[in-house]
Symmetry: C2
Subunit: 404 residues, 2 copies
Amino acid sequence: MAKVEWLEGGITAVPGILASGVAAGIKPGGKKDLALVYSASPARAAAMFTTNQVKGAPVIVSMEHIRGGEAQAIVASSGCSNVCTGDEGLRAAREMTKIVGELLRIPAKAVLVAGTGVIGVPLPIDRVRAALPKLVKSLSPRGGRDAAEAILTTDTRTKEAAARVEVGGRPVTVGGIAKGVGMIEPHLATMFCFLATDAVVSRVALDAVLRRAVNRSLNRIAVDGDESTSDTVAILANGLAETAPLERPGPALRQFAQGVEAVTERLARLLVADGEGATHVVEVVVRGAANRRDALAAARGVANSPLVKTAINGQDPNWGRIMMALGKSAARVAQDRVSIAFNDEVIVEAGVLRPGARLDRVREIMAASEYVLGIDLGLGRGQERVWTCDLSEEYVRINGKYTT
Amino acid sequence: MAKVEWLEGGITAVPGILASGVAAGIKPGGKKDLALVYSASPARAAAMFTTNQVKGAPVIVSMEHIRGGEAQAIVASSGCSNVCTGDEGLRAAREMTKIVGELLRIPAKAVLVAGTGVIGVPLPIDRVRAALPKLVKSLSPRGGRDAAEAILTTDTRTKEAAARVEVGGRPVTVGGIAKGVGMIEPHLATMFCFLATDAVVSRVALDAVLRRAVNRSLNRIAVDGDESTSDTVAILANGLAETAPLERPGPALRQFAQGVEAVTERLARLLVADGEGATHVVEVVVRGAANRRDALAAARGVANSPLVKTAINGQDPNWGRIMMALGKSAARVAQDRVSIAFNDEVIVEAGVLRPGARLDRVREIMAASEYVLGIDLGLGRGQERVWTCDLSEEYVRINGKYTT
């Protein structure tokens, strides 16, 4: 494994990356609601979007713009997602990229756009239009925190990470900001993860690295199983690092990939920990599955079960619910081969309560803010992990009690 | 459609069917926890069980016993599910059928057994053994209510239904009792639906009628998406009605099927209405899907979405969440063709808010305890419906806050 050195500064820890965040008046109360990430030099880019068939206007526009594999800016609004807003919404999203492009003197096509917030309400484009010059003027090599703040919705804290890895013996920096997890908020849904790096990397390699990193981190977290219409992950790679170009599989590309994965995994953990009403983060590790796909299905089944998630909330070692969730999953399960442990404390063996199982010890483990729920299916060598959080009364309060 | 006449008396409204319920001391506080349904004459039988790969000992034993297509009794315990209890659990379940068989002078194979309650805890077989003679002695042609009470767990009320239909010009009676819905309670999970009829019906026809009725009613309800390890549906048909034997497809079999469906649908609605913490029952009707499978996938996607369910709880016409859940489902969705209505009030057309949509009127509709959420996908002729309830803070309280 490449050595990962953690840095301060989030996305603007990356050389040549500027960012800003301002209040455009989309959110009430003068909160920051418009964010910009900018690479001063041309950059390769890759992006991933929600697989929901209903997609927001910003997603549709960004999917067009990313086709060329280059981008220099990401502009994001929070407080209004601009989803299910018809042609008017598409025009507004395109106009945002056009104005930002003009102000930065880059093509509109080099600007990606993202939005998070209530679905079905028109974007107040007049306010956005008026605020964009200030957003561009505020760009700063120390602006990562402002951008991280401007993309928040019900998140209780900003999420930033930055790391330096040695790639072929020379330093490469990766930084990112993120918000919200899954589909978790009434008005203001969506997961964003914006990344930047100074790696010298081809478009194809960058795309592959991003997909792998996201599949092993952001796609391994479960808050409520819903999926936003606006989820957006994007990475800009400006090539300022002094390494040989990363194009083909090999040790150097693996080192870079590990740096990207380190950042996305840290951001993923921060997202779960800040899930609505969440008080516990649990790493669900499934081993011994018939194959890797089964391992993932089993881990997801447990991580998404409302009954398991309420038991995590209640700090209750109700292992029968874990058996139930495993049995219901698409993974092959033989109930008399299953073992279950909390951290290192095994409580189920061969599908039944282990004689002398220390449930009191398990309750202590479950009182911690983070722990590992380990499951061995006893069928093969498939292994996967997923992070989840608890389902609390607070989640329901946040998501039910408000007026549109 | 056959005319359905509703009767009092639940399962014991059926001629020749006796039932009872007693307290064996499995549940605390002297609550009834042992139920028996008995056909005084030999009966054809059909049953359906949880598809969860983890199955309780009673399910495993009943699956063996139903193979012959005959049964005269169903014995059920509540307060302990006898799941994940190994060989000892299997022995206990078999012993229950053996003792009941001896007391009723029928083969053990003619007795089905079911259990609901906490997983992984041994059944207190001594208490059950001691209570079974009293359970058999209490059998009565008016005992349906006692049996309905003895299978309850966190249910707040008994669930009974009975109906008479004309089959080939002669009356046939169908009655049933049910409990709990989906996997909804910490200790005491599981859905049971026990049915009886005096129809004269072949084993094969009875099985087909039961499967169709369950698929159109009990398999169309959503509380939390989890599935118990103990779900059991069974029907006894004692052939006392004075009709020609029902064996082949035709008008008479359809009439009988309509009677069974009427009873299972009523029980399904009662189950949803009594979901943990539920305050609203919503019939999600999807029309215009590319095909029927898509219609069901779309309806289930909406019915199971935690964000939709919290919006139902908050009486909030947050239609964007419905769009999100549709887009995420396995059904083909074209977002600009979707329309959404609450009862007859259309709020979304062509995927956007309808001009002049009366959200205040929708809020009034959502304040009712029951309403219809109608969705038209605008793609084809597929149609399906699913019943769901809201996700309340009370659900989380019930499922999180207790000690094993």
